[in-house]
């Protein structure tokens, strides 16, 4: 696939976001643009008010739930694995394994292939399609957990620790801090897989997205708004709330809760203690260090652009692997006004 074409002449970051020049579109733009390809529904990737958006059906519905009429002027649904042409650039969305509907954007132009992976993880998740590695010339990866200390524990083990804690403290409410899109639903699905069938109480902001997961066939069992709970419903129960809310007003409704936080950051227990987390669960929707390295190998990319997080250490690791690594923020900076 070697080509004389330099990849950073046709895909590079700009003030509005990552821009594909020949296709005249942006990927996950940070500001309003005419034409956007959106990898997944998280707020730092899917912004409202773009004119036209290409995304998976699930991502489009998530954007509609989150942004309502402001979501976009026009949506174009991409079927995973099916190529779409935008001004001569071939765009294919391929599952990224991150959250419901998440996709990598595979871009092809003049015989060259660049994969924008967005956020991704490699392990199985009952709420979304498994990541599919795609061979490419350039792979753009996140580095959220770009240090070798970050290795996520197996899901079943962490859920096992959670359920053991529920048994050990049968009178205390387990108050779980989890992001409202993705982590919340995955956590409930994992609980159900482990046989937990009691009601799960949710912060009101999470209900609409959980219902949407239901529409896409992901059954989360008995979920209820925490606002409808009487005080003794919550003793010994499970409440899920966004990380900020978990420590605020809600925390005062339940006496002496076990503060649980499900995140890859919880691998470092010093972090957990600093945040006042009593039960840290290492459960992440992002690739850990070994997954990032494995994925770079799987793609066979000769060049890797790194973004989102600890770029320095991952770039160093690319050098050790004999791969040409660059910080995405530095791509296209030499000689061109962007």
């Amino acid at each position: 696939m070697a080509s004389l074409l330099r990849p950073d002449t046709w895909l590079y970051p700009t003030g509005r976001g990552l821009y594909c020049a020949p296709g005249d579109f942006y990927i996950d733009p940070g500001r309003r643009v005419d034409r956007a390809v959106v990898t997944h529904g998280h707020g730092d990737h899917a912004r409202p008010r773009n004119v036209s958006v290409l995304a998976t059906a699930e991502t489009i519905e998530i954007m509609k739930v989150r942004y309502g009429a402001r979501a976009a002027q026009r949506f174009q649904t991409a079927v995973p694995g099916e190529a779409v042409s935008i001004n001569g650039v071939t765009v294919t969305l391929v599952p990224a394994g991150h959250i419901l509907g998440s996709a990598q954007a595979v871009l092809e132009w003049q015989g060259q292939r660049i994969v924008v992976s967005g956020d991704y993880k490699r392990r199985r998740d009952p709420t979304c399609e498994l990541f599919e590695p795609v061979r490419c010339d350039v792979f753009i990866t996140e580095a959220t957990f770009g240090l070798p200390i970050f290795r996520h524990e197996p899901d079943a083990r962490e859920i096992g620790r959670f359920l053991a804690s529920c048994r050990m403290f049968p009178d205390r409410t387990h108050l779980v801090g989890a992001y409202g899109l993705g982590k919340c639903q995955r956590f409930i699905a994992l609980l159900r897989d482990a046989g937990y069938d009691a009601p799960v109480w949710l912060h009101s902001g999470m209900l609409a997205l959980c219902a949407l997961y239901g529409d896409f066939g992901i059954d989360l069992g008995d979920i209820r708004p925490v606002s409808e709970a009487r005080k003794n419903d919550l003793a010994g129960g499970v409440v899920i709330a966004p990380p900020g809310e978990a420590s605020g007003r809600l925390a005062r409704r339940v006496s002496d809760p076990v503060n649980v936080f499900a995140s890859g950051w919880m691998r470092v227990r010093a972090h957990a203690r600093r945040r006042g987390v009593e039960l840290p669960l290492v459960l992440s929707d992002h690739a850990d260090w070994p997954e990032i390295i494995e994925t770079v190998r799987d793609t066979g990319a000769e060049e890797v652009w790194v973004t989102h997080g600890r770029e320095e250490a991952l770039l160093h690791q690319m050098t050790r692997m004999g791969v040409n690594g660059r910080a995405l923020s530095s791509v296209g900076r030499d000689g061109r006004v962007s």
Binding site: P148, M168, R269, R273, R274, Q317
Partner: protein
């Protein structure tokens, strides 16, 4: 061992002692002997390994496949032990770690640091990350996790549904893995007998009175005896069969550091008192306790004696259930009759009512004592804090304005979190901004009003980070109460404040108002 690692992991993040107690008693119920006894020994710090190695963790970092990745990881995590545990490869196929009993026995048999390192390396591949962290800490001779010994005892009591006093009474006569203790608690044996030898008995604690609470309370000489609170170190002298041992507040054996006490003709008794230096300033007494053994020269340089104020046993008879007034009579008899010992009887202070106490307290600083002790005359000698028995009423604190130089996040296992500030005094008038020198450290707990504002301010005014410590821009100062100024040769300022406490947060205090070092130095005790 994995089960103990899971326990330590949960204890590490437990927000309060109630949760810790529940976790430990749950572990005791689910774990067999001798594993649980070793676990108790590790948690309470009563199990001491013959060989430990401080460098086990840093050796792992040094040996990591890439030095820069190891360095970045350590910078991110902060703690060397946790970093090493996290970097160690995950077990692929593992037969699991050895049972705790096997692991502890192997470590007890080790004779060299190299052998210990080899043992640890062999087990690392069978533990998860929190388990590896635990193992590295144990091998370094560190506490596996910070838990107070009293929490451990309460947990044992709750697990076995006995009173904590029953555990307390025999605790210091027992050793890991506590087989006799658990046999008794499980109903398979009798209560261990530990009366015979000279053994540590838990001290009776005193509740500290604050200025206002003391003034509200009315003390009456008929009900409460008053004594000076000597400025030294609380000790217990336990003498029987010609053998005398001296114990610290925590039950550590200080005998070898205090040969003149152990050589005294005490007879058969257990006494409670305060060890003080006879001539020097109060801090001097610590020079005698800082090392395992005291040389003859050090004994001459820093002569010490005990101000005795209570008697717990006499000729094998337990006096602790007697009223203080009865014990006092027996103590006075005993002190009159006993041979040549470096001890004096701590006198009772004469007073009629609370106003007299107020006056005595005012004299405490000049008298070189820490304040007053008030003890209910009718009360027994108890080893758990009991309301209304003994009170310590410290002398009025000194107060000054000091600048915040550095801050570090404190231990957050207690209820809420805390910040530890390094306090600075000005070196000399007009010597400029950089001329602040550290004179002590002060904790501020998260329930203090203004804590959130301080946290926010720190976020915006951190200058540099050195591991967990941040240096701060000028602008934050405190009105600080403290008990005394102590001379300290090993500190740059030459002094350190004792027991500093926040009175008030000062925002935007002028640098001219910060206390000067030369002013503080004039307040040195003794």
């Amino acid at each position: 061992m994995q089960r103990f690692a899971d326990l330590a992991d949960r204890l590490h993040c437990a927000p309060h002692s109630r949760a810790q107690i529940a976790l430990i008693s749950d572990y005791l119920a689910a774990t067999t002997d001798p594993h649980r006894g070793w676990a108790i020994g590790l948690l309470a710090g009563t199990l001491v390994l013959p060989v430990t190695s401080r460098t086990v963790a840093s050796d792992i970092l040094d040996g990591y496949e890439d030095a820069r990745l190891a360095e970045w990881s350590k910078d991110y995590v902060g703690d060397v032990f946790e970093t090493a545990a996290l970097l160690w490869p995950e077990p692929s196929v593992s037969k699991g770690p050895p049972p705790l009993d096997d692991a502890v026995c192997a470590m007890l048999d080790v004779r060299t640091a190299a052998d210990l390192g080899a043992l640890v390396a062999g087990w690392m591949g069978h533990l998860d990350a929190p388990g590896r962290w635990l193992l590295l800490r144990i091998a370094a001779g560190l506490a596996p996790v910070t838990v107070s010994v009293s929490v451990v005892k309460v947990a044992i009591a709750e697990f076995a549904r006995v009173g904590v006093d029953d555990i307390e009474e025999i605790w210091h006569g027992l050793n890991p893995p506590y087989l006799d203790l658990f046999a008794w608690l499980d109903g398979h044996g009798s209560r261990p007998e530990v009366q015979s030898e000279s053994m540590f008995r838990p001290f009776m604690p005193a509740a500290t009175l604050t200025g206002e609470s003391a003034e509200r309370r009315r003390f009456d000489n008929a009900e409460f005896a008053a004594e000076w609170q000597w400025d030294g170190v609380r000790v217990q002298i336990s003498s029987t069969g010609g053998v005398t041992r001296v114990f610290s507040r925590r039950g550590d054996d200080l005998s070898t550091a205090l040969p003149e006490l152990c050589g005294g003709a005490w007879g058969d008794a257990v006494l409670d008192g305060e060890l003080v230096s006879i001539n020097g300033p109060p801090g001097e007494v610590n020079r005698r306790l800082g090392r395992k053994k005291s040389s003859a020269r050090l004994c001459r340089e820093v002569p010490v004696e005990v101000r005795v104020f209570d008697i717990l046993f006499r000729d094998g008879r337990d006096l602790r259930r007697l009223a203080l007034s009865d014990r006092r009579e027996l103590l006075e008899d005993f002190m009159r009759d006993c041979g040549d010992v470096p001890a004096t009887l701590s006198p009772l202070l004469d007073y009629d009512h609370s106003d007299d106490l107020q006056r005595l307290r005012g004299e405490a600083r000049r008298a070189g004592v820490r304040g007053l002790l008030l003890k209910r005359r009718a009360g027994p000698y108890l080893h758990s804090a009991s309301a209304g028995e003994w009170y310590a009423w410290p002398r009025a604190p000194l107060c000054t304005r000091l600048a915040a130089l550095y801050v570090q996040r404190g231990d957050s296992t207690a209820v809420g979190s805390s910040l530890t500030f390094t306090l600075g005094a000005a070196r000399a008038p007009g010597a400029g901004d950089g001329a602040l020198v550290p004179v002590g450290k002060m904790d501020i707990a998260s329930d203090e009003s203004g804590f959130d504002k301080i946290e926010e301010w720190i976020g915006e005014n951190t200058q540099e980070r050195f591991g967990p410590v941040r240096s701060l821009a000028p602008g934050l100062a405190f009105l600080v109460e403290f008990d005394a100024v102590i001379a300290s040769a090993r500190r740059k300022s030459g002094i350190v404040l004792r027991a500093p406490r926040l009175r008030q947060i000062l925002w935007g205090e002028s640098p001219d108002n910060i206390a000067r070092l030369d002013q503080l130095t004039t307040l040195i005790d003794g």
